[in-house]
Symmetry: C2
């Protein structure tokens, strides 16, 4: 496959984009990165590649676009299967179904509760924090004594999906006033282990940059909306 | 595979359960059906099989539970792959990704808008109707001139996921005061075509029974809540 053309459309703080980039890096697939300004004018390439949702991330492989982050992960895993690259999902149907169960669980629970830890106030914020921490505790239990969700040797799609949220953790902790090290220390150990992998550490956005931008957004919001 | 044991946990009006049943029927896989009363006491089997979400549908294959309807569909397709049964997803990675894109689209858009056509009133109900009809128009365009979403010969996971909502259409049309035959006549032709398949028609709940139960729920709600 000498003439592979791989283009990714992303927006730098996106957890959904980050997992796509990490998957490509883990599999050592070369790609061209194109940043989309999701708050500004969307590019023609984005609108043509994802006419239904008009959202990043998009992977364009030899001219064919694939949308929706976990569908992209499965596509990457299947399209580069024969290259002896790292598998992101197990081949056994039952183990694969369990892997899909946890990626689905993470996106259903972590994204929504995490966002509410900084967009809500008072009782709703407390509820969001409780939900978010509970979710991470469920995931810590699922990790158990394994090094990675994918086993002791290597990362799986579950690792990539969950670690894609990590750059947002300091923002949610700072604004929500809680410490994940206190609540889920073993899971934070897993975070540190993941970050030793170059494919992961170089693909994730800077957590402090996210905290800085979110702090600005909150200040603007408070100025105009008064809360 | 002589000693296969397949148990399904379902609640009769569920679109998520119906697609699991249709997939098993299309593939001619024998199974034992267990009805769960989701408004009453959940059975120990459900709680043990799906301890995280505690929801139907669940497929238990030789003692191993698989949860979440579209994950179940993929599991059924992969676990019974070698049996020369009908494939629900194409084997080509790109075509498979497109199939997953549409099942994901249907669940993201149809479920939520459909439910709001009867649980909301006034402006919110009108918005829900508009969204629901727009979503079906997008799907009608995607169907194009094909007999099924899976092609001219056979149904795919996209067909099963979308037709699983059909028993709810008369309820949403009656309460919302609109006709899908007027808005998406070609898609309604596809519904009729799907219903000629015994695996589909015998697996779907009775639309009039759903309308009847929903009408009762609305009456009780209006009596106690006053709207």
């Amino acid at each position: 496959m000498a003439e592979e053309e791989v283009i990714v459309l992303n927006f730098w703080p996106s957890m959904f984009g980050a997992r796509m980039i990490m998957a490509l890096e883990e599999k050592e697939i070369k790609f061209e990165y194109k940043e989309e300004d999701v708050f500004g004018q969307k590019t023609d390439l984005l609108l043509q590649s994802n006419p239904v949702h008009k959202k990043i991330p998009v992977l364009i492989h030899n001219g064919k676009p694939v949308c929706e982050s976990n569908i992209i992960l499965e596509y990457i895993d299947e399209a580069w299967k024969d290259d002896k690259t790292l598998p992101l999902l197990p081949s056994d149907p039952y183990h694969k179904s369990q892997c899909r169960f946890w990626t689905d669980f993470i996106d259903k629970k972590v994204f929504d509760a995490g966002r509410r830890t900084w967009t809500k106030r008072g009782k709703e914020q407390e509820e969001a924090k409780r939900e978010f921490i509970e979710t991470l505790k469920v995931l810590e239990t699922e990790l158990g004594e394994k090094v990675y969700f994918g086993g002791n040797e290597t990362v799986s799609a579950v690792d990539l999906v969950l670690i894609s949220y990590y750059p947002w953790f300091p923002t949610w902790e700072t604004i929500g006033g809680f410490s994940l090290e206190d609540h889920t220390p073993k899971l934070m150990g897993w975070v540190r282990k993941c970050l030793t992998r170059p494919a992961i550490s170089k693909s994730l956005p800077d957590p402090l940059k996210i905290l800085d931008r979110v702090s600005q957004i909150i200040k603007v919001h408070e100025f105009f909306y008064g809360y």
